[in-house]
C-alpha cells in the first residue's frame, strides 16, 4: 500500500516534469534549422506547395497553439485532414509523423518490440557477466584472476559500442561465420530465430554495460564483506562460500538492481548506436532518423515515452531497493 502510494506520487510528479520537458523540446526543435514544412514537402516544392503543407500540418499556427493541440491530443485524441477524409488519431495521440502521416503512437508501437528485446537481453547479459565477474573479483581480491577480469570488463567499457559491435560482427559473422549476420525477427514470429539474431546485439551492448556492473558488484560486495555481520558468520566458522553467497551477495544486490532498472528504462529510449549498427528496427533508430528530419511529433513522442519509462523504472528501482534492504525507508 505504501509502495503504491509512493509510486503514484512519483508518477504524478514525473508526469508534470515530462510535460515541462515536452515544452522545452518543442521550443528546442522549433529552433532547429530546417523548415519542417519544406522538409515534409520534399526537395523541389515551390512556395505555394510549402505553404499548403504548412497549413495542413498546422505549422502556420503559433508554437504555443501547436503545443496546446499536442497536449489536447494526448488526452482527447485529434483529427487530421487526410486526403478525401479525416484521419482520426485516438487518445493518447502523440500526433502524426511529418514524414508520411503515420501515427506516432503506432510508430512507437512498431519500434518498441525490437528495442525491448535488445534492452532485456542486454540486461540479462550484463547482469550475468557483471555480477559474475564482480563477485569473482571481489573474492579473489588482489589476485591475478581479479586483474584479468578487471581488464576484460574494462575492455568492454573502454571500447565504444560502435567499435565493439562492429568487431563482434566481423569476428563472429564474417570471419568465423559462426552466426549469420543478425537481422531482426520478431519474437512473436519465431522465438528461436529471434534469440539467435539478437545474440550479437545483446552481447555488444551487454558487454559494454557489464563493466559498470562488474565494478559496482565488486565494490558493493567488498563493502558488504567489510560489514560487521560478515564478521559474525566468519567467527562462527561458516564457510567462506556460504558467507559470500548467502550474506554478501544479498547485500550487494540492491544497488545493482536499482541501477539495472534505471539503465533498462534509459535503454527503452533506444540504444541508438547498437540499433543503427545491427539494423534493429527499434526506437533508437527511429529517433535519430526523426531528429535528422526534424520530425518533431515523433521526437517528442519517443522522448516522452522514454522519459516515462525511466521514471517508472526509477520508482520500481526504489521500491525494489527498499524491499531488498529493509533498512532503507521510502521517503
Amino acid at each position: 500500500m505504501r509502495f503504491a502510494l509512493f509510486t503514484t506520487k512519483r508518477l504524478v510528479g514525473a508526469v508534470l516534469v515530462l510535460l515541462v520537458l515536452s515544452v522545452a523540446l518543442y521550443a528546442l526543435f522549433y529552433l532547429v534549422p530546417g523548415d519542417p514544412a519544406r522538409l515534409a514537402c520534399g526537395n523541389r516544392c515551390n512556395v505555394e506547395q510549402v505553404a499548403q503543407v504548412r497549413e495542413r500540418l498546422g505549422l502556420n499556427e503559433p508554437v504555443y497553439a501547436q503545443y496546446l493541440h499536442f497536449v489536447q491530443g494526448l488526452f482527447t485524441g485529434r483529427d487530421f485532414p487526410a486526403g478525401n477524409g479525416v484521419q482520426h488519431c485516438q487518445a493518447p495521440c502523440l500526433g502524426l509523423s511529418r514524414q508520411n502521416d503515420e501515427e506516432v503512437t503506432s510508430l512507437i508501437a512498431q519500434g518498441l518490440p525490437a528495442t525491448a528485446s535488445l534492452a532485456l537481453g542486454a540486461l540479462v547479459i550484463w547482469l550475468v557477466l557483471g555480477l559474475g565477474t564482480g563477485l569473482v573479483s571481489a573474492l579473489r581480491r588482489g589476485g591475478i584472476t581479479e586483474r584479468v577480469l578487471t581488464v576484460l570488463t574494462l575492455a568492454g567499457s573502454g571500447t565504444p559500442v560502435f567499435i565493439l559491435g562492429l568487431l563482434l560482427l566481423m569476428a563472429v559473422c564474417a570471419y568465423l561465420q559462426w552466426l549469420p549476420f543478425p537481422s531482426y525477427v520478431p519474437f512473436t514470429r519465431d522465438p528461436e530465430q529471434w534469440a539467435w539474431n539478437m545474440l550479437l546485439p545483446w552481447l555488444s551492448l551487454g558487454l559494454f554495460e557489464s563493466a559498470k556492473y562488474a565494478r559496482l558488484t565488486r565494490s558493493s560486495t567488498l563493502e558488504v564483506l567489510a560489514e560487521d555481520h560478515i564478521r559474525t558468520f566468519r567467527a562462527y566458522g561458516v564457510s567462506e562460500r556460504a558467507v559470500v553467497t548467502r550474506h554478501a551477495l544479498r547485500g550487494a544486490l540492491p544497488p545493482v538492481i536499482a541501477l539495472s532498472a534505471l539503465d533498462l528504462g534509459t535503454m527503452l529510449g533506444g540504444a541508438m548506436i547498437t540499433e543503427t549498427l545491427f539494423g534493429l528496427p527499434g526506437l533508437g533508430r527511429l529517433l535519430i532518423e526523426s531528429v535528422r528530419e526534424v520530425d518533431l511529433p515523433v521526437v517528442v513522442g519517443i522522448v516522452l515515452v522514454t522519459g516515462a519509462a525511466v521514471v517508472i523504472a526509477n520508482a520500481v528501482a526504489d521500491v525494489l531497493y527498499a524491499l531488498a534492504d529493509r533498512r532503507v525507508a521510502l521517503s
Partner: protein, 550 residues
C-alpha cells in the same frame, strides 16, 4: 556497365530461372511508398516492381539502359502541336493485382493526386508544365477545381496531356511514378501507401516499421506478355532497410545463408571495402560479384557571384585553376569511386556529354596559374574565403571533400575557412535564393538521362525559385541562355537535343560559375547466388526487376 565481364548474367552464371526468395539489404528505409510522393528517376527500383508507368527505362546494362521504352503505353507518346500535346494509348488487358482493369482515368487521377499537399514530395515538372498546373491543388482541395482539365481521357485507353510549352523530354518524364495508375475508389489519402494497388510483377504483402521491412510477393494478375521489360524470377522479395552500409557490404561479401541471395539497391561499396578487394588473394570471386554503375551526377563547387569576392570572374577562375582534383577524388574513395570532372554534364552520351576543360588544373591543381589570375584581380597577397558545406559526409558534399578543397587551395595562397552545416540547415541555406552563400559544395543529379533536367534547374534564369528550393545557385538569368533552353527543350529528336545540350554546357562553363569536381562511380556488390545482374547508366544501381536467385 554490369559486372566485370560485362555479360548480363553475372554472379554464379547460368540461365536465370524462377523461384527462390530475394533479399534486399538497404540503408534507407522506403518511408514513402505512395506513387505520388516518390521522387525517383526512372520509376525507382523497388517501387517499379509495383508501379508500372506510361513509359519506363530500358532494363539493360550501361549506355543501352539510358533509353526510354513504352510500358503501360503502346509507344513513347505521340507529340503534337509542336510537342505541346502528348497522347498515350494504353496496352490492352492491363489489370491491377485484384484483377480490375487499368484505365486511362486512373493515370489521370494518379497525376492529379500528386498535386495534393497531403501527398507532396514528387518531381515538380507536371506542376510547371501542365496547363493550369500552377494553380491546381489536387483532388482533395476544399476550393478550386477538383480535376485538371489539361489531362484528357477521351476513352478508356487514351490519355492526353496538354502542356504550356513544347517539351521534347515528355517520354522520359512519363517514367516517373506519378504516371502510375491509381484507381480513384481505392484512394485512402496518406494511408494509400500502406497498400498501394500493384500493376507490376510484385505486390506489397507487408510493410512494417514505416517502410523498413517490406515483403513483396508475385502479382498473379501481372503478365509478362504485356510487360517485356520486367521479370518476376524470385517467388518473393524481402526488403530490409535501415542497415549500416558497412554491414550491408560485409554481408554481401560473406554471402552466407540467405545473404547469398541478397542484393542492395542503394548501397555503394566504400573505400575501405575496395581497398580490401584489391588486397586479398581470394577475392577474384568477390570481384566477379561487383558491378560498376554510373548515374548522371556531378559534385561541384558552386559560386554565388552576388557575393564578394566571387563577383570577380578572376577569383572564380583562380579557384578553378587551383583545385587539386586528385585530393578531392581520394577523399571520396579514390579513382574507383569517382572520376575527376571538368564538365558540368556527366560523361554520358544520353546527357550530351561534350568534353572541355576551360581552366586546366591538371591532377593536382595549378597553383601558379591561380596566383597569377588572382594577382590580376588584385589579390596578389592572397585571399581568404569561406566554404560552406554539409557536415554529413554520406553524400560526398561533406567535410571530407571540403577539407580536401581547403588543402589544395592553400597551395595557391587561398585560405579557406570551413563552415560545416548540419544537413537540413545546409540544404536550406544553399537553396535559399535570397541568402545563398558565396562559395559552397553542391551536387546535382539527372532526373532522367537528358540534358534538360541536368542543366535547366541550374542555369535557366526562369528556374530561380524565390521562396522555395532554388538550384540555380549562381542565379544566372541570361536572356540568351534562357532562349536556348526553350529552343532545345522542345526538340523531340532526343539525339539531336543531346548534342545541343553538350554545346550549351560548354558555353556556360566558360563563365566559371561552378567548378566541377567529380562524377561519382558506383561499385555494387551482390550475393553469390544472384543472377542476371543488370546495371543501367540511367540509375547506376542494379535493376531489381531483372534479378534472379535460381
Amino acid at each position: 556497365a554490369g559486372p566485370q565481364d560485362g555479360d548480363a548474367e553475372g554472379g554464379a552464371g547460368g540461365k536465370p530461372a524462377k523461384g527462390g526468395k530475394l533479399l534486399v539489404l538497404n540503408t534507407e528505409p522506403q518511408v514513402n511508398f505512395d506513387p505520388a510522393r516518390l521522387y525517383t528517376s526512372g520509376g525507382g527500383n523497388v517501387p517499379s516492381l509495383v508501379f508500372r508507368t506510361l513509359t519506363t527505362r530500358k532494363r539493360a546494362d550501361g549506355e543501352e539502359g539510358t533509353k526510354v521504352v513504352p510500358d503501360l503505353a503502346t509507344g513513347l507518346g505521340r507529340p503534337s502541336e509542336n510537342a505541346k500535346v502528348w497522347t498515350y494509348k494504353l496496352k490492352k488487358g492491363l489489370t491491377y493485382e485484384d484483377g480490375s482493369p487499368i484505365t486511362s482515368a486512373d493515370i489521370k487521377y494518379g497525376v492529379e493526386r500528386s498535386f495534393a499537399a497531403e501527398l507532396s514530395g514528387g518531381a515538380p515538372y507536371m506542376r510547371d508544365w501542365l496547363v493550369g498546373g500552377a494553380d491546381y491543388q489536387g483532388p482533395f482541395a476544399k476550393k478550386g477545381p477538383k480535376t485538371l482539365d489539361s489531362i484528357e481521357t477521351p476513352d478508356k485507353r487514351t490519355v492526353v496531356f496538354r502542356l504550356k510549352k513544347p517539351v521534347g523530354d515528355f517520354p522520359y518524364v512519363a517514367t516517373q511514378t506519378q504516371f502510375a495508375p491509381v484507381p480513384k475508389k481505392k484512394e485512402k489519402g496518406a494511408k494509400y501507401e500502406k497498400h498501394p494497388l500493384s500493376s507490376g510483377p510484385y505486390k506489397v504483402v507487408r510493410n512494417e516499421n514505416d517502410g523498413e521491412r517490406l515483403q513483396l510477393a508475385r502479382n498473379p494478375h501481372w503478365s509478362a506478355k504485356n510487360d517485356p521489360h520486367r521479370h518476376d524470377y524470385p517467388d518473393s522479395i524481402e526488403v530490409r532497410s535501415g542497415l549500416d552500409p558497412a554491414v550491408i557490404n560485409q554481408r554481401l561479401s560473406t554471402s552466407s545463408g540467405d545473404d547469398a541471395k541478397a542484393i542492395t539497391t542503394d548501397t555503394n561499396l566504400g573505400p575501405a571495402e575496395l581497398a580490401k578487394l584489391g588486397k586479398d588473394g581470394n577475392d577474384a570471386e568477390l570481384k566477379k560479384r561487383v558491378g560498376v554503375g554510373h548515374f548522371g551526377y556531378t559534385n561541384y563547387l558552386a559560386f554565388n557571384p552576388k557575393v564578394k569576392p566571387f563577383d570577380k570572374k578572376e577569383v572564380r577562375e583562380a579557384i578553378s585553376y587551383a583545385i587539386g582534383r586528385r585530393s578531392v577524388v581520394n577523399a571520396v574513395g579514390g579513382t574507383s569511386l569517382a572520376e575527376p570532372a571538368t564538365t558540368f554534364l556527366p560523361n554520358q552520351k544520353a546527357l550530351g556529354y561534350t568534353p572541355y576543360d576551360h581552366f586546366p588544373a591538371g591532377k593536382n591543381g595549378d597553383p601558379d596559374k591561380a596566383r597569377e589570375v588572382l594577382k590580376k584581380a588584385g589579390y596578389g597577397k592572397g585571399l581568404a574565403v569561406t566554404l560552406t558545406h554539409s557536415t554529413d559526409d554520406s553524400a560526398a558534399i561533406g567535410s571530407k571533400v571540403a577539407t580536401a578543397v581547403q588543402q589544395s587551395l592553400k597551395k595557391a595562397g587561398i585560405t579557406v575557412k570551413l563552415r560545416g552545416l548540419e544537413r537540413n540547415a545546409y540544404d536550406e541555406k544553399r537553396q535559399d535564393a535570397g541568402d545563398t552563400p558565396g562559395f559552397f559544395l553542391s551536387q546535382w543529379g539527372a532526373d532522367w538521362p537528358a540534358g534538360y533536367p541536368f542543366l535547366a534547374p541550374i542555369y535557366d534564369g526562369r528556374q530561380i525559385v524565390k521562396d522555395g528550393s532554388n538550384f540555380n545557385h549562381a542565379q544566372l538569368d541570361d536572356e540568351k541562355i534562357n532562349k536556348k533552353f526553350d529552343a532545345i527543350s522542345g526538340d523531340t529528336d532526343l539525339k539531336a537535343a543531346a548534342r545541343r545540350w553538350g554545346a550549351l554546357d560548354r558555353e556556360i562553363g566558360e563563365r566559371a560559375l561552378s567548378v566541377p569536381l567529380f562524377h561519382p562511380v558506383y561499385q555494387r556488390l551482390v550475393g553469390k547466388d544472384v543472377k542476371n545482374v543488370v546495371i543501367s547508366d540511367w540509375t547506376g544501381v542494379l535493376d531489381i526487376s531483372q534479378v534472379a536467385v535460381k
